[in-house]
């Protein structure tokens, strides 16, 4: 399955990142540090899956219904998935999970506030609905970054290591390429590379308040938007897609 228009390519990136984020977090159900937090993480995972669903519906519409939502989810391979590398990384321990949600939701906050001004009504509606959810993800994960940073010695080490480890996957979030150009000129989206300054300020301020250090001189990794992934994604897709692929004639 190849996406023919820039619009579809762009939407697929957003949809895939949310799907993979939700799929990863849903692995944590029943594994939270306590019950309330278990419920909160499932809640966040559900929001991501819901956002992915709306975006795949939009893809379906853009493709004139040729493919269903589940075709997009279950019948594409690694090289045709366009999510960010950040979201396919392991959950790791609770600190790493929260660091990932924090870095991603800070970006999503900016993204959706931009897309809520889109000239495309569908995108605008999705952004307006999602932004409320993302504000909660941001608040929740930011509060944990603060707590862990200024909690115990152990928690400080763990959250700092998590930020350090995930940092190399943050660069590609702000990469703009040819897919965005026409959409920007039609005021459907704004360029990813314009989000960096605000993101960087929010993250910097939070790390400072959490008594943590911003990683320096990190070599950034990239590829997700072009379908070039880390080795983690293949295993996720194998697990997620196995039933519809094993029984191609079945309906669920």
């Amino acid at each position: 399955m190849n996406f023919s228009t820039d619009f579809e390519k762009y939407i697929a990136r957003l949809a895939d990142s949310n799907l993979i984020m939700g799929q990863r977090l849903s692995e944590l159900c029943s594994k939270g540090p306590y019950l309330e937090e278990d419920i909160a993480i499932s809640n966040i995972a559900l929001d991501y899956l819901g956002q992915a669903n709306m975006l795949y519906e939009l893809l379906k519409k853009a493709g004139n219904g040729k493919y269903s939502v589940d075709d997009y989810v279950f019948h594409r391979n690694e090289r045709n998935y366009y999510n960010l590398l950040l979201v396919e990384q392991d959950n790791g321990h609770f600190g790493k999970t929260m660091a990932k949600i924090f870095l991603y939701s800070t970006y999503q906050k900016i993204l959706y506030s931009q897309l809520s001004k889109s000239t495309n009504d569908d995108i605008k509606a999705i952004a307006l609905k999602s932004i409320k959810e993302v504000n909660y993800h941001f608040k929740h994960s930011r509060a944990w970054v603060l707590r862990l940073g200024d909690g115990t010695k152990e928690s400080k080490v763990k959250i700092q290591e998590s930020i350090d480890e995930l940092w190399r996957f943050t660069g590609e979030i702000f990469e703009s390429d040819y897919v965005e150009n026409n959409l920007i000129s039609e005021n459907i989206i704004t360029a990813s590379n314009t989000y960096y300054d605000e993101w960087s300020k929010i993250v910097k301020d939070t790390l400072l308040e959490a008594l943590l250090t911003e990683p320096e001189n990190v070599v950034m990794l990239t590829g997700g938007k072009k379908g070039l992934h880390t080795e983690k994604l293949g295993f996720m897709l194998a697990e997620m897609q196995y039933l519809p692929r094993t029984y191609p004639n079945a309906k669920w």
């Binding site: 799907l19 799929q23 849903s26 692995e27 159900c29 029943s30 594994k31 939270g32 540090p33 306590y34 019950l35 309330e36 937090e37 278990d38 419920i39 499932s42 809640n43 995972a45 559900l46 899956l49 819901g50 992915a52 669903n53 795949y56 939502v69 589940d70 989810v73 279950f74 321990h93 609770f94 600190g95 603060l146 707590r147 862990l148 200024d150 909690g151 115990t152 152990e154 928690s155 763990k158 697990e239 997620m240 196995y242 039933l243 519809p244 029984y247 004639n249 079945a250 309906k251 669920w252």
Partner: protein
């Protein structure tokens, strides 16, 4: 001798509230039953959570995750209701992990195929609803209110499970087989969920007198079977009981003998997943310890700052 206020209230079908006087036996029976109920919700998250990452459609993935999240919410609600009796959640979790407290034995069976997710919703939640609807009238106020709230969501779960099974039963040959296989494996454990026969259940009588329990194990089991057999027939599945037959005289189904040896084996730790379920719970709990400590340390620091 005049009745105590407690007995008076029980006789008049009034609710006992946390501050009311109650016999020690009443309190300890409730703690045992309510904490077991809460633990069942929590341990039950595992066999179902087992399929979230492998759900065959995005829609079914979201529904299943939301459902398991509901179970966590029920557990939380029941733990809180149980805390009104003077036990802490920490104590309850310890009792679960040391094996002192039990949870529903049904969750010691593995979920092997996607159809098992349907079977759990349809049969296990279906059985739980029959029990919980009757517990809406239980004499302890917080427990009764918890049941009223929980029943609303459970009936949605039961429909979700039946929908999965219906889709499979109407699907390809392989899907039909999957559905029948799940029914074969989950039927008997589900009807065992109601516990031993009334004549063998020594705690039941007291609980009925105190109106903690409102209906006997056998009568609850019978209404579950009467309700569920037609649902299986409607979608062309066969209940795995050769002695099952409609009895026109009693207006109920007659059914075969329950294998109580298997029931007690699984209760006593010999099920396929007993060890895994508790280990999973301990692992998550232990791995979360540094997080809980950090949260406490952080809030203490913030509090000290305010005081200073």
């Amino acid at each position: 001798m005049p009745n105590s206020i407690f007995e008076d209230k029980i006789n008049k079908d009034l609710k006992i509230e946390p501050r009311d006087e109650m016999p020690d036996g009443y309190r300890s029976h409730l703690i045992r039953q309510m904490s077991q109920h809460a633990h069942s919700e929590i341990i039950g998250m595992q066999p179902e959570g087992n399929w979230i990452t492998r759900a065959p459609s995005l829609r079914s993935k979201m529904i299943l995750l939301a459902k398991v999240q509901d179970e966590a919410g029920h557990g939380l609600y029941l733990y809180s209701a149980c805390e009104t009796l003077g036990i802490t959640r920490k104590q309850m979790i310890e009792e679960l992990q040391t094996g002192k407290a039990k949870y529903s034995s049904i969750f010691n069976y593995p979920t092997l195929t996607w159809a098992d997710i349907g079977a759990i919703g349809w049969l296990v939640d279906g059985a739980a609803i029959v029990n919980q609807v009757s517990l809406q009238k239980t004499s302890y106020g917080p427990y009764s209110r918890a049941m009223i709230k929980i029943c609303k969501e459970e009936s949605f779960h039961q429909r979700q499970g039946y929908e999965i099974i219906c889709t499979l039963a109407k699907g390809t040959d392989e899907q039909k087989q999957m559905a029948q296989d799940a029914l074969n494996r989950w039927w008997w454990p589900s009807i065992m969920m109601f516990g031993p026969h009334d004549k063998d259940s020594n705690r039941s009588e007291k609980a009925l007198n105190w109106k903690i329990k409102r209906e006997s194990n056998d009568s609850l089991r019978q209404s579950f079977i009467d309700k569920t057999v037609p649902q299986a027939e409607l979608i062309g599945l066969k209940v795995p009981d050769d002695k099952l037959i409609w009895n026109e005289k009693t207006n109920h189904y007659d059914f075969g003998d329950i294998d109580w040896e298997e029931f007690w084996n699984v209760v006593n730790g010999k099920g396929l997943c007993n060890k895994e379920r508790i280990e999973h719970h301990k692992k998550a709990h232990n791995e979360g310890e540094w997080v809980r400590k950090a949260a406490v340390a952080y809030s203490e620091k913030k509090l000290n700052k305010k005081v200073a």
